[in-house]
Symmetry: C2
Subunit: 222 residues, 2 copies
DNA sequence: TTATAATGGTTGCATTTGCAACGAATATAT
DNA sequence: ATATATTCGTTGCAAATGCAACCATTATAA
């Protein structure tokens, strides 16, 4: 049922039915269901598993030094969370909360970290897929850091748009955020973001409608 | 000669002489020397290796959409670069340039990605060390994203300081940046950073001398 | 020593941006 | 259908911050 979602994850993409079944077993995959508002972990214990969101949305956050909550990630369908902490068996004061009703596929890396004598070629391939997942994660985080490092909203937007444009090979693309999440991703205030988007549209640099954006002549001004 | 530097890298820490030798061979390690200003890669070709800086400092950057150069990383002694791109064999328009005279240990992940029939237990262990390196990298990038996501310089500094304080388990610590690099890391203007640091000192929240910082009562105000 | 470069602090100013409040439009639930 | 919640844009205002220019101090080189 969740087949399509699984195949979106690099761990399980392009596997035969038999291989998929083996992979799920290799990562000790078990499905669990949560209701809106449920907590997925105990803060006191280190993460023994990482998760793949099969349906719904979950949020990872930690308490800030001044008591506020720092949102670390909103994780939607097909995306994973906690891989690094799980692999490193690192303790971290993170809370994982289900924003909607959700289904999570919990997995662990025990078979990678504690290989037995029968570690086979396909085990190595699966371990490499896990590594590739982390590598992809660092590249995605790097993209975000590029954006966040820009000093002005305008520059952040230009970087953000050009990344999407490159990724899709097109001047026109849809982004997976609403304005609120977009502002969070860019690290700016929502209304200031709206204002800057309006300015850029006035200047003829971009056009947009809801999540659909079009780059017109981003190089022209500035 | 570079023994101490190697052992700082998770790939090579706590290895016997014999194991170290095997690890170097496993990653096809070869040393190369560069002069200040030398380029370490050809932009047109994908990265076939990742690097460990044995001495000196190198910089990774790419051309921005508007022709400016985006600095992606300053890599100092003992730190690595290009692991993700190398492992994924991903092409990316990055420039790698030596800021000083430098010595680089080039390595690759061929033995991980193309395991032969004799893939042994210690090969698995080394592959896992590589994975752990990536996992650590994502955690470090996450810390930086936490900081960059804050909207004010004050909040960025508070987050930055509390990370260091947690890491060293002390209210007093030394940071590895000069003011310029610190401003870049925090994603703010250097003089604005100096100004905010001065304010925080006036308010008795922190004290500092050069790279030596002391948190006094960061919780008090705000 | 002297000269030069690098580093860090200070400040005036213009601009940007966060913030709050509000309203319109749309979506969702009852 | 009606009510309610969500999303998005707009705007006035105050505060934060980028920017540039300058100076002091320290480090480095000649």
């Amino acid at each position: 049922m969740y087949q399509e979602i699984l195949t979106k994850c690099i761990l399980f993409s392009d596997l035969s039915k038999e291989e998929l079944s083996y992979a799920l077993q290799f990562f000790s995959a078990t499905e669990k269901f949560y209701e809106k508002g449920d907590f997925l972990n105990k803060v006191t214990a280190p993460l023994k598993s990482f998760g793949l969101v099969l349906s719904g949305t979950i949020q990872v956050y930690m308490d800030d030094i001044d008591g506020n909550q720092m949102i670390m990630a909103n994780v939607g369908e097909g995306d994973t969370f906690g891989e690094s902490l799980c692999f490193l068996q690192r303790e971290a004061p993170v809370y994982i909360c289900s924003l909607t009703d959700s289904a999570i596929l919990w997995m662990n890396t025990d078979r990678i970290k504690n290989p037995d004598a029968h570690f086979t070629y396909r085990d190595i391939v699966l371990a490499n897929r896990f590594t590739a997942m982390l590598a992809n994660r660092t590249l995605a985080m790097n993209d975000r850091i590029q954006i966040l490092s820009k000093l002005s909203i305008r520059d952040k937007l230009i970087t953000f748009f050009s990344q999407y444009s490159n990724r899709y090979g097109s001047q026109e693309f849809e982004i997976p955020f609403d304005r609120n999440d977009m502002a969070t991703y860019l690290g700016v205030n929502r209304s200031a973001l709206s204002r800057e988007l309006a300015h850029m549209r006035e200047e003829g640099i971009i056009d947009f409608h809801k999540n659909q954006f079009q780059i017109k002549n981003i190089f022209a001004n500035q």
